[in-house]
Symmetry: C2
Subunit: 193 residues, 2 copies
């Protein structure tokens, strides 16, 4: 039939995601993307459409990967409290280890784009409900198993935990201070008791 692509689509998309993640939409130029993705300009347009479409694909990829990670951690059998603690501790560790201070791609997208771009807005909104559901299921299980007693309204608590998670990642971007972040996690998890 014809010639094959010389690059791996998923690998290129991964690179694009990293660029958008660390620079945001506006500050990431096509030149940056082409260079980091290791593909040609025209190939980028042929394969992914335009810059905006590529951004949405990168955002979707991030959502899928991070959503998977969150889902697996919270659905893991055993102590829900322990899973939640691990989740927040991992976020702190990741934030402290990221010298680029990229924060959360979804949070960045919400901040930069959600107010002006419908497609981004629908994705970040969709993500909120997904994460909320994951927390909700975990909290329900914790209550059923008698582990969690301090939570009266699991739905509200789920929303609260998502808020705390987003706030934590934003704070880490402003001040990479382990003590501060640990304090936040400590108080956040105290609502379970």
């Amino acid at each position: 039939m014809s010639r094959h692509k010389e690059f791996d689509r998923d690998q290129a998309l991964q690179k694009a995601m990293e660029v958008f993640w660390s620079r945001g939409y506006q500050a990431a130029s096509i030149g940056d993307l082409v260079k980091q993705m290791g593909i040609n300009r025209q190939s980028l347009y042929d394969t992914f459409g335009d810059k905006h479409a590529l951004y949405l694909l990168a955002l979707d990829r991030y959502r899928q990967v991070e959503g998977q990670r969150l889902f697996e951690l919270l659905e893991r059998p055993g102590s829900v409290k322990q899973s939640l603690r691990q989740l927040f501790d991992e976020v702190v560790e990741q934030a402290l280890g990221d010298r680029e201070r990229r924060g959360c791609f979804i949070g960045n997208a919400t901040s930069e784009m959600a107010g002006h771009c419908k497609e981004t807005a629908s994705r970040t909104c969709n993500n909120m409900t997904t994460v909320e559901e994951a927390f909700h299921r975990a909290l329900l299980r914790g209550k059923q198993e008698g582990e969690i007693n301090g939570v009266r309204d699991p739905r509200a608590a789920a929303r609260f935990f998502h808020c705390a998670l987003q706030g934590l990642m934003m704070m880490a971007k402003a001040r990479q201070d382990r003590k501060v972040l640990n304090d936040v996690v400590k108080v956040t998890l105290s609502v379970l008791d």
Copy 2:
């Protein structure tokens, strides 16, 4: 000596702040700024330096105004719990009423700039400690006056409240849903009991 400026510096800076607040740094063009500020291009450069300097001035203005509001509310004599509830309720109301979904300018600046711009980073970091201090003082007073009993570590709680505040404003940007935000506020304030 010479001719006077035809425009009011503070008023122009206020307009610039609104532009940067709603569009961010990159997406706000000098053309936008000139139009919204109602002044001439050259006057902008003569008075404020360049785009980046103007951004920092706008950010400082926002910090000063919002900081003042927060400070006054939390230093107000009387119930600290009530002040905190009012603070969070007002944030919810403001977020729901903002059809542009601008969110928090400081949060936006943190997300967009803190990772790449030292000047912005130092400002957002500075802001974090200021807000933390305001919460801390209020919580200490609440404890002294015997109103707040659920808080063991006021420093950690202060950091937590700031985190919740930032998270709340970010969530509101993703999903303008009164019920969701009220749930978050409800659980957040529950750590006081």
